[in-house]
């Protein structure tokens, strides 16, 4: 296929020039090769609206990226940069605009620097979490990375889509913890931000802002340039790790539970708080009697659920606390945490794992590895066919609305979203036990995973309709998504409409200024080049 608006001869010319820059071996045009860039979790698999790629180019250096971008600009070829293309659940390696040429940055996989006295790293976009972890382990450096689940993605790519992890404080907001960038602009010019704009800078990986306007945010979830290097702050390797769980008996106890969790987290006492319910979670109700209760017409009352929790000697909600640091410190912090929750009537505490590093192998095997900075792929095991999962899916889409960090907001979100599923006559992904994810440390994300199938177009259509309905329901309640697959980026960004879409109009002004030909990632997060805005549709 050809990129939209590009003739065959112009495309052939572009391909030839790309080959001259990166070498023939690194330009991919065959059907077999470009098929590898399909979104592995596409909600349009096999349909006419499925996003396809016309070609892919894999440069090795920022200078090659610059030359490729200049050619694309001259010939008006739409390009779509990817790092490792593993952002499954949010679009993977596929562009927003079908027919784009993928700019595959996986060959740019150098770790430029890791400093374990000042605790930062500078990497290229092809560096995966596995790569950076290996670099640190092989050199015995005393720093931890913060990893998402799975760990095969790009450190830069994940941050650029505002991806998140599981570790301590700000480190798990991967864009927040970045420090400085090198970017190839749509003109082909290479710019460095923050302290990197100072030649021979000694603090590029340490201080974010440089001087003057701080522009880094413009390159996240956007299409104003191609990031070719990025710095990240890293956690000093802690001496030990301890977990402890707080269990509360009543549904309404979620309010003081969250208040206590917020106090501890925002004061830097704990790492990522993990809310849960002993009564069930993503998999639904956790026992047969409870499932039967849930199946009652009209659903069970809160009293019935609380009685069941008491009868089975489980609480209604739980909060797993994670402590990182010196042995004496983490033990004292756990004692302090218990004091914070002591006023909740009937509260129970369970001390969990304690690891003094380096961990023994059996401790590592048992641990939630992402919480201790170890990248892995075990998350894919949960999708295997089993008695609880008789019909495995071919992938998923993440619906990721942000709600306030309060217990009241959790309870409200449960009610609102359960009703939304009822209104659409769809099986609910939300229950009275659903809790938010806590990847970002100053908001909750009430995340839901929707199945996608490669052989069930009808189900995919229903999923898309439900997803779109939820975007509107969430917006009506002041809950916006923080990240979304390309299929829904237009609708999600349309919801951010304050003052007649003033933010989008500002983005478009910037886009017209820096990328007048609209060659980079057209349509990403709702930012279309001027010549395509009339085609914008949710």
């Amino acid at each position: 296929m050809l990129p939209p608006g590009v003739t065959a001869s112009k495309f052939a010319d572009a391909i030839k020039q790309f080959q001259g820059i990166v070498g023939k071996d690194w330009v991919f045009t065959s059907d077999e090769d470009v098929a590898l860039y399909k979104d592995a979790y596409s909600p349009f698999w096999g349909e006419k609206d499925e996003i396809l790629v016309s070609a892919a180019v894999a440069p090795d250096t920022a200078e090659e990226v610059s030359r490729v971008v200049r050619v694309a600009n001259t010939l008006k070829i739409p390009i779509y940069p990817i790092s490792t293309g593993k952002n499954l659940g949010y679009g993977g390696s596929a562009p927003n605009l079908s027919g784009s040429v993928v700019l595959d940055l996986k060959r740019m996989n150098r770790v430029i620097e890791v400093d374990d006295k000042r605790h930062f790293a500078i990497v290229e976009p092809g560096v995966s979490y596995f790569d950076l972890y290996r670099y640190i382990q092989e050199r015995g450096l005393k720093v931890w990375i913060d990893v998402p689940d799975p760990g095969w993605g790009s450190v830069i790519g994940n941050a650029m889509d505002h991806g998140v992890g599981y570790g301590f404080g700000a480190f798990r907001d991967h864009f927040y913890s970045h420090c400085g960038m090198e970017v190839v602009l749509p003109s082909g010019e290479i710019v460095r931000t923050g302290m990197g704009a100072l030649p021979n800078s000694k603090t590029w990986g340490e201080y974010h802002y440089g001087v003057g306007p701080y522009v880094d945010g413009l390159f996240g979830q956007s299409n104003f340039g191609v990031v070719t290097k990025m710095g990240f702050h890293l956690l000093p390797a802690p001496e030990s790790y301890l977990t402890g769980t707080v269990i509360v008996p009543r549904r309404s106890d979620i309010v003081p539970l969250v208040e206590g969790g917020n106090q501890l987290e925002h004061a830097g006492v704990i790492g990522m708080p993990e809310y849960g319910s002993p009564l069930g979670g993503f998999g639904g109700a956790s026992d047969a009697e409870l499932r039967s209760l849930m199946a009652k017409p009209g659903g069970p009352s809160v009293a019935e659920l609380e009685q069941h929790a008491e009868k089975t000697n489980r609480g209604f909600f739980s909060l797993n606390l994670q402590f990182y640091g010196g042995q004496k410190v983490v033990r004292a912090q756990w004692e302090y945490a218990k004091e914070v929750f002591a006023d909740i009537r009937g509260v129970k505490f369970n001390e969990g794992d304690f690891i003094k590093f380096p961990a023994m192998q059996e401790q590592l095997d048992k641990a939630h590895k992402v919480a201790i900075g170890v990248p892995n792929l075990s998350i894919f095991m949960i999708g295997a066919r089993s008695a609880l999962n008789p019909s495995p899916t071919d992938g998923h889409l993440w619906f990721s609305p942000l709600i306030p960090k309060t217990g009241e907001a959790i309870l409200e979100a449960q009610e609102v979203f359960m009703k939304a599923f009822r209104d659409m006559n769809m099986p609910s992904l939300v229950s009275p036990f659903s809790v938010p994810a806590t990847w970002m440390f100053r908001a909750f994300v009430f995340i839901m995973g929707f199945p996608v199938y490669r052989t069930n177009i009808e189900q995919n259509k229903k999923t898309r309709e439900m997803f779109k309905h939820l975007i509107q329901v969430a917006a009506d309640h002041g809950w916006g998504e923080y990240r979304t697959p390309p299929a829904f980026q237009q609708q999600v960004t349309d919801a951010y409409s304050w003052n007649n879409h003033a933010l989008r109009r500002f983005h478009e002004t910037l886009k017209d200024a820096v990328d007048p030909n609209g060659i980079i990632s057209a349509g990403r997060y709702g930012i279309w080049p001027k010549q395509m805005r009339g085609q914008r549709k949710a």
């Binding site: 996986k106 596995f130 095969w152 894919f380 295997a384």
Partner: protein, 144 residues
């Protein structure tokens, strides 16, 4: 002692179930086997089918990697390094989730799944037999 061809015939097609529509026939699979010098296999240790395949592989002197669905250790300690320096053909019988991971990773090293066959009724769950090998650059590349 079985030869390689017989070994792979038994291991990769021992179930009576059909090869996926659109995938290559057994005959072309053997052509691939002869052409691709397979020295290592990956097997899901919870599967009797895969374990039997593993036993045969070991007897033939192939290196056999046993996993329990999670390919992390195999990837990190073996394949990531190996594929960086010299992508090598690999065969296996695993859960579909394991093949999905390997397929996604293989693509970054110029490799792809050249053969796959689903064993839908295998225990403890559906298994898939597969070969991952370096991609041949398309001879009919439209823009050479």
């Amino acid at each position: 002692m079985r030869n390689r061809r017989e070994f792979l015939q038994i291991g990769l097609a021992s179930s009576a179930l059909p090869i996926l529509a659109g995938e290559r026939s057994e005959a072309s699979f053997y052509d691939s086997v002869n052409r691709l010098r397979i020295r290592e296999v990956v097997v899901e240790m919870s599967s009797p089918l895969a374990r039997a395949f593993r036993a045969e592989a070991v007897e033939l002197g192939l290196e056999a990697h046993g996993i329990h669905d999670d390919i992390t250790d195999l990837w990190y300690h073996k394949l990531d390094r190996q594929w960086k320096s010299a992508p090598a053909t690999l065969a296996g019988i695993t859960l579909p989730s394991s093949l999905f991971c390997l397929e996604m990773l293989a693509r970054d090293y110029g490799m792809c799944v050249q053969f796959r066959a689903l064993h839908d009724k295998a225990e403890p769950g559906p298994m898939v037999s597969w070969i991952i090998a370096p991609r041949l650059r398309n001879q009919s590349d439209p823009i050479a």
